[in-house]
Subunit: 320 residues, 2 copies
């Protein structure tokens, strides 16, 4: 199976390349990389895993893209969700090239299509384009990554692994969310893209469900430290989002304003509204990896926490 990955140097892309390049299935991997990024460290790492790297621009390059996609079976986008133009151009070319399955950039929490998260709405614009041209697709969401789920310890001893520490507790901590190890994302993708049952479907891949209080208590037990709970009522996060929305609407929609809005919206979706749970995902039309692959053995959350506390964790976006 010929698989092209676009946006391969992000965290989701690297997890997918790791899994596909070490899978027993026969994946022949290609990565599309912007010509400007061709000398990046991560691109060299990808090449070392046997991936063919193709320097190519996505926009204003329709014929070139169609040609570069010839003979590919699956295209996986791990592009950043801050803009839609490049991925829409990729989908248009994928349709013309006869791609058998397009996996748009998702790999986040299940979320209603509109009115909750700006980044979801941008992704929906791409999904809607995919559907308009009847490009075969699979949407894969994976919940909250383990790697961004932990609060910091007062001693600072796990700060090395927490690029985005989880410092806010929704309400009284009793709210739950679905968590998945980033290293399992690629393994799920390897199963999903070779599974006819998931064609033209949404799939929710997740490892475990934890409340915030359970996460705090468990980390306290493992670390021996007492962690303060920074409780926040729903009305406060809603006020923060409303404020960020006003600033975003009045802005040039550049990255700082997108981040300003997307940050609290992620918290709102994942912890306050609790969209990121198996039942809401089912309501929203997702198949579940628990039903599809009952024998899959994901990395346990308690094992991840042990790693981090023992100093063996790894920060995401470490080199950037």
């Amino acid at each position: 199976m010929n698989v092209t990955i676009v946006g391969a140097t992000g965290e989701a892309g690297l997890s997918i390349i790791d899994a596909l390049s070490s899978s027993s299935n026969e994946f022949k991997l290609t990565a599309f990389v912007r010509p400007a990024s061709i000398n990046k460290l991560e691109v060299g790492q990808i090449k070392n895993k046997g991936v063919s790297v193709v320097p190519i621009n996505l926009e204003s390059n329709h014929e070139g893209l169609v040609k570069a996609l010839a003979g590919q079976d699956v295209v996986i986008s791990c592009l950043v969700p801050f803009t839609t133009g490049p991925e829409i151009a990729l989908a248009t070319a994928a349709k013309e090239a006869g791609i058998k399955r397009f996996v748009p950039s998702a790999f986040g929490p299940p979320c209603p299509p509109a009115g909750v998260m700006l980044l979801r709405e941008l992704k929906e614009n791409i999904i809607n384009h995919v559907k308009k041209v009847y490009l075969p697709y699979t949407i894969i969401d994976v919940g909250l990554w383990y790697q961004v789920s932990l609060p910091p310890l007062p001693s600072g001893k796990i700060d090395y692994a927490l690029k985005f520490p989880a410092t806010v507790v929704a309400e009284d901590g009793s709210h739950a969310t679905s968590v998945t190890d980033l290293r399992d994302v690629g393994k799920y993708v390897a199963k999903i893209i070779t599974d006819e049952r998931t064609l033209n479907k949404y799939v929710f891949a997740y490892n475990e469900v934890w409340t915030q209080e359970e996460i705090h208590s468990h980390l306290e037990k493992v670390s021996g430290e007492k962690i303060p709970r920074n409780l926040m009522p729903t009305k406060d996060i809603e006020a923060t989002i409303a404020d960020a929305q006003v600033k975003y609407d009045a802005s040039d929609k550049s990255l700082p304003f997108i981040f300003g809005l997307a940050g609290p919206q992620y918290l709102y979706c994942e912890w306050f509204r609790q969209d990121n749970l198996p039942e809401p995902a089912k309501y929203l039309g997702y198949l579940s990896t628990k039903d599809l692959y009952p024998n899959f053995e994901p990395i346990k959350y308690v094992d991840y926490v042990d790693e981090v506390v023992q100093g063996k964790g790894k920060s995401i976006y470490a080199d950037r």
Copy 2:
């Protein structure tokens, strides 16, 4: 089962009331009607079928709506799709009233969510709101109504039944679409709203698939008249839509501009793009009534054509 129908005096609403009021299932029917419409002829007809009519405004009346919906199991909207505010207000109240299934106004062709039909996009805004508040729902689309599928005869003899004659033939007439008798719409709805398999799903209810050439040939055979084919290439309908889009964008979005755009877009969706077929519907996530209800016997298209040619047809929107 307590069922409230909103927009009950439209064609879809009347079909649904006919079917539910004569069904062997126990439906207790209520119709919400604008206070200004309470003395309309159709409202009297609805009352005669045993429907409780409640005069009520949908907008700026949240508490009143919640109260009026108390104890209802299913809410079916047949509101016109030219605006979203009233139906969004209805959905919000339905969520608060604990409605077990909300059927948004659809009853048209399956269609990608964006970029094809303005009226679909308006409906999607409502569906997105329904999903945001996790209101249990079923989307029911029914394809092209028999009642708007026939071309006129040169003699004018079937004009009495054709409120919207089908005067344009896409390309060479070989394109197909799915057709459904308006009188069957309500019968499908009666089955679907009592079926747990359709909860939080999209359902495509259709009777038969015909090409435009087959429709013309059949009508010629039954009527004995020769019907000219008004062939139109795809580029012409696309140019018409582009022109209507410019006018709509520059307009006050009032009904004449909506109709100017929606008219050619319906043709484009149903006959040129061929969105309105079982396979695209499946791709778009719809269940099919052919799978759900294999023993259902819909009105045959040839019988409908016989009725019309024999002068026994009935125009839709006849009294308006």
